[in-house]
């Protein structure tokens, strides 16, 4: 209790013209905890991530880092605090290899020349720490599978030793096996003591790795659930805005409807 959460948002609001994308949103992320951020399309999840990452500015609200209010105005501010972001559209350079992508913008150099050997060594170290299997770190990432590209994007975000990682729908376009790859990686990040915010549409993913599920609906908080003790239906009801009863009645799941 004495330890303040790594990241806390209070009353964050943001509008685009007439659209209230976020309204008085609260959110807390602790070390060693995976928080799933759920919500329908357009609920404001990506907007919230961009606010935390400093890509766009909130109209109102407070961001606290380890209990202290901070101002995140640029992506650099977030990175400096220790917040890493993996965006929904993976931002990788298709023509560069894994090493090139990981170190893009922070290349290691010796007398002005790229130190490829050192960058490759650190890449291998990082990938093996995270048990990420990429057959060859020197192939252009265009040649990798969707799951591998996603793990590369996540690995890149971990290179700067962040404390909190924001993942915007990392499994949205992946098959079953590749999704499992990414979820395994999320679990390892939690085991390494990182705070993870995982945006997902998929109840299965959330049930598998998340500790808490925070639901956004039309830009507002619409419930915070302990994933281990809450039923699918309750969370889905909160996402769709239907009452818990209606949903439970429509899709009865014996043994899980006790709450």
């Amino acid at each position: 209790m004495a330890v303040p959460p790594l990241l806390a948002l209070r009353g964050v609001s943001k509008h685009f013209g007439a659209v209230q994308a976020l309204a008085d949103v609260d959110l807390t992320i602790r070390a060693g905890e995976v928080v799933a951020l759920m919500g329908d399309n357009g609920a404001g999840k990506s907007t919230l991530v961009k606010v935390i990452a400093g890509v766009s500015l909130a109209d109102r609200g407070v961001v606290e880092w380890q209990g202290e209010p901070v101002h995140v105005r640029r992506p650099r501010d977030a990175t400096d605090l220790g917040i890493a972001t993996v965006y929904q559209d993976l931002a990788l350079c298709d023509n560069l290899d894994v090493v090139g992508n990981l170190f893009l913008g922070r290349e290691i150099r010796r007398i002005g020349i790229l130190d490829e050997v050192e960058m490759e060594r650190r890449t291998r170290d990082l990938l093996s720490t995270l048990a990420i299997r990429i057959p060859n770190v020197r192939v252009p990432v265009a040649a990798l599978s969707g799951g591998q590209r996603q793990t590369v994007a996540i690995a890149r975000s971990l290179l700067g030793d962040p404390r909190v990682v924001l993942l915007d729908e990392p499994t949205a376009s992946l098959g079953v096996q590749q999704t499992a790859q990414v979820l395994d990686l999320v679990e390892r990040m939690r085991d390494h003591g990182l705070g993870v915010l995982l945006i997902s549409h998929n109840m299965g993913d959330v049930k598998a790795v998340a500790d808490l599920a925070a639901v956004l609906r039309l830009g507002r908080n619409n419930g915070l659930f302990d994933v281990n003790t809450t039923s699918h239906e309750q969370i889905i009801a909160s996402i769709t805005g239907a009452t818990g009863d209606a949903v439970t009645r429509r899709t009865p799941r014996p043994g899980e409807a006790e709450r």
Partner: protein
């Protein structure tokens, strides 16, 4: 045992991916070049004579230097249509300053090249900052700079350069001493070997996979064979041409810049994913402006070599097929029009192909009309290969 199998599999995969990603873009063009040489040699036994090859090696330099500059622009996925005009303009600036106004040659050369740099910065600014498509900006440049060139020339349609001067020497000087060509060949081979060997030692020390000594020896052997063969042939005529030496040094130097420095890495990154580059803090506006500056500067340098070859600058400087040949050279050599793939060596190989066709046709007394059609066909083939490779790769990447 199983580790080794995985390694082999990994290696095969790398080769396959490199093939499909255009990193082996040089294999088809080298094969094409050999084919062209065999065909012309069988039609006219003078084609591979030391004299013809030596002339060829000087003829490629002017257009080749321009093509090397264009590679930078193509790498970020853009195009520069102004390089022909800029090369002519640069040559005329030099000629007017040096011949008509008596400025020292070295100073006039520097001023001309800086004019090119300034032109590139302006064009790059309009493209990257103002947001005008590069095609349009440089098309305006194509007209504008040749207009300015004609204005500078005024009533004097042609300015003859000093036959003995610095710029004339660029393409007229040969190192007659056979030791120079062999020395350069030995140096090139040694640098290649040492770089590979050091890389291997460094990788072994950190426990990473590395090339075997046998592979390094084999590669060095191939490199040595090519460069010593070239040195031998050149020594049969007048020795190593200064122009060729400069061209090779520039190509190798800019290759180092593109592939071994953070700046070059950013050029490739902007071509392969501008948004990705922007998000990690790459200043993509600055990178985009810089490639146009390189392109226009190299255009002037190439223009000076072209002027040197005919010891004059005139109203026809930088006109005709120059622009198309320079772009075609880069593309034939394996630079992707879609950005992100290719090296300065691509431009070197591509201009060799184009100039070989031109030289062979001239030897055979075939009209320019046929030569245009053949070069056009080669260019089309290169672009088609590029498009197919990109499409296959996209399909693969999304899978």
């Amino acid at each position: 045992m199983s580790g080794r199998r995985i390694d082999l599999k990994g290696h095969a995969e790398t080769v396959r991916h490199r093939m499909s990603s255009g990193e082996f873009g040089s294999v088809p063009v080298v094969l094409g070049l050999l084919l062209i040489w065999v065909i012309f040699q069988s039609l006219n036994s003078n084609f591979l004579s030391p004299r013809n090859l030596s002339n060829l090696s000087v003829d490629i330099v002017g257009t080749g230097l321009i093509a090397v500059g264009i590679v930078f622009v193509l790498l970020v996925g853009e195009i520069d249509l102004s390089v022909g005009s800029v090369s002519g303009f640069g040559a005329v600036v030099f000629a007017v300053l040096n011949v008509q106004n008596g400025m020292a040659e070295w100073l006039a050369v520097i001023v001309a090249v800086l004019c090119g740099t300034a032109i590139g910065l302006v064009q790059g600014f309009f493209f990257a900052r103002v947001g005008v498509p590069a095609f349009v900006v440089t098309l305006a440049g194509l007209l504008g700079w040749s207009g300015l060139m004609l204005y500078l020339l005024g009533t004097s349609g042609t300015v003859n350069l000093d036959d003995e001067g610095l710029v004339a020497t660029l393409t007229s000087h040969y190192f007659g001493n056979v030791a120079v060509a062999y020395g350069v060949a030995a140096l090139g081979t040694a640098v290649y070997f040492l770089a590979s060997y050091r890389d291997r030692r460094h990788r072994r020390a950190t426990g990473m996979p590395c090339r075997s000594l046998a592979e390094i020896a084999l590669r060095t052997g191939v490199v040595g064979l090519i460069v010593f063969g070239a040195a031998y042939v050149l020594n049969q005529f007048r020795g190593l041409p200064l122009a060729l030496l400069i061209f090779l040094v520039v190509v190798a130097g800019l290759d180092l810049l593109l592939r071994r420095t953070p700046y070059g890495r950013r050029v490739y990154a902007v071509g392969g994913g501008a948004e990705a580059a922007r998000r990690v803090g790459v200043n993509i506006v600055r990178v985009r402006i810089s490639v146009f500056a390189v392109s226009a500067s190299m255009a002037v340098v190439g223009g000076l070599f072209l002027a040197s070859r005919i010891t004059s600058a005139s109203q026809t400087s930088g006109t005709g097929l120059l622009l198309l040949n320079a772009i075609a050279a880069a593309v034939i050599g394996g630079v992707s029009l879609f950005g992100g793939h290719g090296t300065t060596w691509s431009a070197f190989l591509g201009i060799l192909v184009i100039q070989s066709i031109a030289s062979g046709m001239a030897l055979l007394g075939i009209q320019a009309a046929v030569q245009f059609m053949i070069t056009g066909g080669v260019l089309l083939a290169a672009v088609v290969v590029d498009s197919l490779v990109r499409q296959a790769q996209k399909a693969h990447g999304r899978a």
